[in-house]
């Protein structure tokens, strides 16, 4: 029995429509016009305990709406939704004990009181046993480096510090589910890294189930096993992250830096797929499918003909992949067909 079970989950909104300009404002003052928007369109989602899911989609795709329904904040228009045996929007407070939430752009801490007091209030609100609270607090304080600002009000700490405190706040009560909405937005690279590691550790050590919405693909790479993509309210991909890369992100590029321009390109590129020599004659790039060639093979094919000073290898970029999906340049398999298929449903721009 999956931890999260959603079937045919749908949410329809009515939005007010306003024309621009002063005339539009006047009109809007006296009569209002509405149009319906299907934010989430009959999606099926099943998440097992201990999974770590990235929930992606362009802006307005329906990500936050889905998360709001899962956390019980929003009531679905139709469909079935069960989280750990509870219907979230019916038993919201009970469901709340099972979940931890981190909104990247907003905080769950109290703004004017010291961070430690927010934690103490959380202990009372979630009725965390004293011993467990002390344990968790000590562990998180150490892992997240909270000591340095524990006694400062949340409104006065830096963004990175606040995010770390929010994470601690979300996990103090040992929730089964952790929902993260843009958790690393606006943070510097060092803090991003430590936060990702921390979240991954919760998944690995405590079996916390994580659902993450983000635009930062570094988050996905470090934290998630599974990737679900939603667009226009429909799930357009749902599968293993590694399989995704294997199937769609197979290209690697190896860049050689040469001592001298090569005499002729023909012998070099003879057995190779795509060769590309830069105008100064000193940079040679080879793009290859990593399942067809090993990096060593490529190097072995090139090196007899040129003197190589240095080289580097570009790994498959999930980022490119996702960007192409968003731009409509790439259509992935529908969620129900397995990811092992070697047939690529690829529609690329010519």
């Amino acid at each position: 029995m999956a931890l999260i079970e959603a079937q045919g989950l749908t949410k329809k909104f009515r939005q007010a429509v306003k024309e621009p300009g002063l005339v539009g404002s006047l009109k809007h003052f006296f009569t209002r016009q509405y149009k319906d928007k299907l934010a989430v369109d009959h999606i099926d989602l099943s998440v097992e305990a201990g999974e770590s899911v990235a929930y992606l989609g362009p802006n307005g795709a329906g990500k936050s709406t889905t998360i709001k329904m899962l956390t019980g904040i929003l009531v679905p228009t139709s469909g079935r939704l069960v989280v750990d045996g509870l219907v979230p929007y019916e038993k919201r407070q009970k469901n709340a004990k099972n979940i931890g939430v981190v909104f990247g752009q907003r905080t769950t801490l109290w703004w004017d009181i010291p961070v430690i007091e927010s934690f103490n209030l959380a202990r009372d609100m979630y009725e965390i046993p004293a011993k467990r609270y002390k344990q968790n607090l000590a562990e998180f304080t150490e892992l997240l480096g909270l000591d340095e600002f524990m006694n400062i009000p949340a409104g006065k700490v830096s963004l990175g510090q606040r995010m770390r405190a929010d994470l601690c706040m979300a996990l103090l009560h040992d929730p089964k589910m952790l929902y993260l909405d843009e958790p690393t937005i606006g943070l510097d690279i060092a803090v991003k890294d430590s936060i990702r590691k921390f979240i991954r550790r919760q998944v690995d050590e405590r079996g916390t189930t994580v659902m993450l919405t983000t635009h930062d693909l570094g988050d996905i790479e470090d934290i998630c096993n599974r990737i679900v993509i939603i667009d226009n309210g429909k799930i357009i991909h749902d599968g293993d992250l590694a399989a995704l890369k294997d199937n769609y992100a197979r290209d690697r590029v190896i860049h050689f830096q040469l001592a001298r321009p090569p005499v002729s390109m023909d012998p070099i590129c003879a057995g190779l797929p795509a060769c590309d020599l830069k105008s100064d004659g000193l940079s040679l790039s080879v793009r290859f499918d990593r399942f067809e060639f090993a990096a060593g093979e490529i190097a072995a094919a090139v090196m007899p003909y040129v003197e190589v000073i240095d080289f580097r290898i570009d790994e498959p970029e999930v980022e490119d992949l996702i960007r192409k999906v968003y731009l409509g340049q790439l259509t992935l398999d529908a969620p129900d067909s397995a990811a092992e298929t070697t047939e690529l449903a690829v529609a690329t721009e010519a």
Binding site: K18, L22, S25, L26, H28, F29
Partner: protein, 267 residues
């Protein structure tokens, strides 16, 4: 003033904001009507039980006074110290400094933008209240009406300049609510909004006469009623102008020194 178009655009923008929050703004206005209506009932009871209590005012004049006070209080409600406090707190001051516009003028433009709308709504409601309570007095001749319009315009400008000056405290405090409330409390008494200043005991009346607040309500209202003679009227309106422009200038000075202090401290 260079590039008036810029300021016009700002005025228009703040007018649009009201339209978007239509329900809210209407509700706000009607809420302030309760205060006036309560006053009407109170003064009516006073008048009915002891007409002499109104002093030299007739009942229609008293009603007119209250309506004029209401209309004037309802203008430029969009501008208060809170906005300035937000600007300072959220560091918008720095952004504004980088813009090629005059800070005080931009605030004036935004404050004035909603005025046509505020005025028309307030006058409509004022008219309804006046009719319900049996009518009010009107200016005795076109000259007084013209003087009243001048005085009312100065009153609004004065309101802006007072609030602007008070809001400069935003640079030294963290919350503007207390300051704003204090200003409104003092303003309510000394502008004559609560009670015509003539009803005050001598010492209070003397105090009111050296403060700028009377120019916000009392002077225009009395001009409307024509209860002051020629020289007094000229003097009072003159005082309004002196206070209004004087405080505008003072506000600019405060702004300059505050900005200097802030940029030195890197606040």
């Amino acid at each position: 003033m260079p590039h008036p178009r810029k300021y016009l655009a700002m005025a228009k923008a703040s007018l649009e904001v009201i339209f978007v929050y239509r329900a809210g703004w209407t509700v706000n206005l009607i809420g302030s009507v309760f205060y006036v209506v309560a006053m009407f009932y109170l003064w009516q009871t006073i008048f009915l039980s002891k007409p002499g209590a109104l002093g030299t005012f007739t009942w229609p004049q008293m009603k007119a006074y209250l309506i004029v006070a209401f209309i004037l209080n309802s203008t430029m409600t969009w501008f208060d110290e809170w906005q300035m406090g937000q600007d300072v707190r959220e560091g918008r001051v720095a952004i504004d400094l980088a813009r090629p516009v005059d800070f005080q003028m931009t605030r004036l433009a935004s404050a004035m933008g909603p005025i046509p709308f505020e005025l028309s709504s307030a006058i409509t409601i004022g008219a309804i209240v006046a009719i319900i309570f049996g009518g009010i007095a009107f200016p005795s001749d076109p000259a007084h009406l013209a003087l009243f319009i001048v005085s009312a315009a100065l009153a609004v400008l004065l309101k802006f300049s007072i609030i602007y000056c008070v809001s400069m405290t935003a640079f030294w405090t963290t919350g503007m609510e207390g300051v704003s409330n204090a200003r409104m409390a003092v303003q309510n008494i000394f502008s004559g909004a609560l009670i015509p200043l003539v009803f005050f005991p001598d010492w209070l009346r003397a105090l009111a006469s050296v403060l700028p607040f009377q120019g916000m309500i009392s002077t225009p209202a009395l001009t409307y009623l024509g209860t002051m003679d020629g020289p007094t009227t000229a003097f009072m309106i003159g005082s309004q102008a002196v206070w209004a422009f004087g405080l505008l200038l003072f506000g600019r000075l405060l702004w300059r020194s505050a900005v200097k202090a802030v940029t030195i401290n890197g606040g």
